[in-house]
């Protein structure tokens, strides 16, 4: 049982790292800022959440701070994504 939990944590860490790699490579392509933001939301929000969750499985004793880290990661990264999308696009009736 303990081994299974440990491997679940490792799986989260590996999965998060793959998300990071995939989303960050999009930065190098010649695409619009908005298109790259979709890739970054995969890597920096979802990938990082998976990595922190993997760490949480490893050291469950520190759950309050890691939970706070996950909540603020999700909220701030999503808000930064919206702010960057809004500020970089000069359409509509801005």
């Amino acid at each position: 049982m303990k081994l299974a939990i440990e491997w679940f944590g490792n799986l989260c860490l590996i999965g998060g790292t793959i998300f990071w790699l995939w989303g960050t490579v999009q930065l190098l392509a010649r695409r619009s800022v908005l298109f790259k933001l979709h890739g970054l939301s995969v890597s920096d929000t979802l990938g990082s959440l998976a990595i922190v969750f993997g760490l949480l499985v490893r050291i469950p004793a520190e759950w309050p701070l890691l939970l706070l880290a996950m909540i603020s990661l999700a909220v701030w990264n999503t808000m930064l994504g919206y702010v960057l999308a809004y500020c970089s696009s000069t359409g509509g009736d801005a």
Partner: protein, 128 residues
């Protein structure tokens, strides 16, 4: 009013990771004393709906992420979506948050007249 204080107390307890009486009292004092804006009253049902949507959005976001990793989404489009009527500022914020949280869609502009521009990526190009 009460919900804001409870939310602040929750953040305080998570940050300090200490459930003792004195710490609880300090946290409660800070949560009550910090200035707060007047909240427009919302219907409880709207809030419960949003909470349910958040619970769905997290696995949904991972599913979408895996989808766009496996099948490349090369096309982008901007669509205009109406805001549902009678939403308070907090609920509109949560709506925008939920749309932006999922990787396929990002809100790029919010207009107070009642719509937002949603930028999304797609597998095939949309017919005009």
């Amino acid at each position: 009013m009460v919900s804001i204080v409870l939310f602040r107390l929750l953040l305080w307890l998570l940050l300090t990771a200490d459930g003792s009486g004195i710490n609880l009292a300090i946290g409660l004092l800070v949560a009550v004393l910090l200035p707060r804006q007047r909240l427009a009253p919302d219907r409880l049902r709207d809030w419960l709906q949003v909470l349910g949507k958040i619970a769905i959005a997290i696995p949904m976001a991972y599913i979408e992420a895996i989808e766009i990793m496996i099948w490349p989404h090369r096309h982008e489009a901007t669509i205009r979506e109406p805001v549902r009527p009678n939403r308070s500022a907090q609920l509109v914020f949560l709506d925008i948050f939920l749309i932006t949280f999922t990787p396929k869609t990002i809100v790029s502009h919010y207009n107070e007249a009642g719509w937002y521009d949603v930028h999304q990526i797609e597998r095939s190009s949309r017919q005009p």
